[in-house]
């Protein structure tokens, strides 16, 4: 009975949403695009150009690695970052910068395709790398690019401890200073 209801619901959903979308779109809606702006005389033309993904050839996936066995046919399939099992630090800017837009914002989960925990972790790593001033070419236009030109305490070097990401309360560092 439940399966019947679900099937009916999904049928209704596809009937409502996909048809309405399909009727609006004049081109193939499923493609990676880039927005181009150009001026011809007195008219400004804004068009979306379909581009191939620049990353597909360089993509690393756990199932394609030679060391991995085909034993991962359990109930829950892990997301690609859990399957890779990388120990990513906030100083690994070449990995962290893949999860941001060109203005340095973290991409949402529907685009990154991570699980909840990994999305939280990558978001914190992006924030750490930005606060430490390690990705200054991926910042908004109004941002002071050079970390040394920032205000007050932000202009000095800061490092972060990745173990504190999932801690409720961050412990104080152990040294002989009274606080």
């Amino acid at each position: 009975m439940a399966g019947l209801v679900r099937a009916g619901f999904s049928f209704a959903k596809t009937a409502i949403f996909s048809t309405s979308v399909r009727s609006i779109a004049t081109t193939n809606p499923l493609h990676l695009r880039e927005i181009h702006e150009r001026v011809e005389g007195s008219t400004k033309i804004i068009e979306a150009v379909n581009v191939p993904s620049p990353r597909t050839e360089l993509l690393i996936r756990a199932e394609n690695l030679p060391t991995q066995d085909a034993a991962a046919s359990t109930s829950e399939k892990p997301c690609y970052m859990c399957a890779l099992g990388l120990d990513v630090k906030h100083t690994d800017v070449l990995i962290v910068s893949q999860f941001v837009r060109s203005d340095g914002c973290m991409l949402p989960r529907r685009i990154t395709g991570l699980c909840r925990r990994q999305q939280k972790k990558m978001g914190k790593l992006v924030a750490m790398a930005q606060k430490a001033g390690l990705m200054i070419n991926l910042t908004p236009s109004y941002c002071k690019k050079d970390p040394k030109k920032r205000k007050d305490h932000k202009k000095f070097n800061t490092y972060f401890d990745e173990r504190t990401i999932f801690m409720k309360k961050i412990p104080k560092p152990v040294d002989k200073f009274k606080r």
């Binding site: 927005i35 990353r55 360089l58 690609y80 390690l134 000095f156 560092p173």
Partner: protein, 178 residues
């Protein structure tokens, strides 16, 4: 005493000079390392009554790195001795005034408070930048290894390396590049 033994005696008790680059180093972690060289704890002949400590030259103290929000949460206390003379200075304010003070206080506090401490501190030279006087630099014979790796900024990596680096995340099919 033979000539070889005499040279060995000189070499054992001579003060050697070490250099330490503070760039992106936590001052409170590196104070424990610098302390060992200043007091001579790294030598097998160490004894508290034995004056066998070395000299440490710490450079680039302006570029030290503090963890997390420490720059605005760590406060340095001072009291003038008069009533109402207490003052609390935040770490970033202190670093603005004197970029050598944080590492100096960290090393001072890392050592045990005894009569030797102030004399041991005299053997620590701290310079905010890379400009070290020539007469100091020509004595240096050893470099102390840094604790933390100095991070590389993304804009310092060449563009072809960034483009050809292996990727883990691919855009979904209907994503608009921004």
């Amino acid at each position: 005493m033979s000539a070889a033994k005499r040279v060995q005696q000189w070499a054992t008790f001579a003060r050697s000079w070490h250099i330490f680059d503070c760039k992106w180093q936590d001052p409170y972690e590196s104070a424990n390392i610098i302390k060992k060289y200043l007091m001579g704890l790294h030598k097998p002949i160490y004894h508290p009554m034995n004056d066998c400590g070395d000299v440490v030259v710490a450079i680039n103290s302006r570029d030290i790195a503090l963890r997390g929000d420490e720059w605005r949460t760590r406060a340095y206390f001072h009291h003038t001795g008069y009533p109402g003379g207490a003052s609390w200075t935040l770490a970033w304010e202190l670093h603005n005034k004197d970029p050598t003070m944080i590492i100096k206080k960290a090393v001072y506090r890392a050592m045990k408070g005894n009569l030797q401490r102030r004399h041991t501190m005299q053997r620590l030279f701290i310079y905010p930048g890379e400009n070290v006087p020539e007469d100091v630099l020509q004595n240096v014979t050893n470099q102390i290894r840094q604790i933390r790796l100095v991070p590389t900024r993304l804009d310092q990596i060449p563009e072809e390396v960034t483009k050809t680096y292996p990727k883990v995340m691919d855009y979904p099919e209907d994503y608009v590049l921004k």
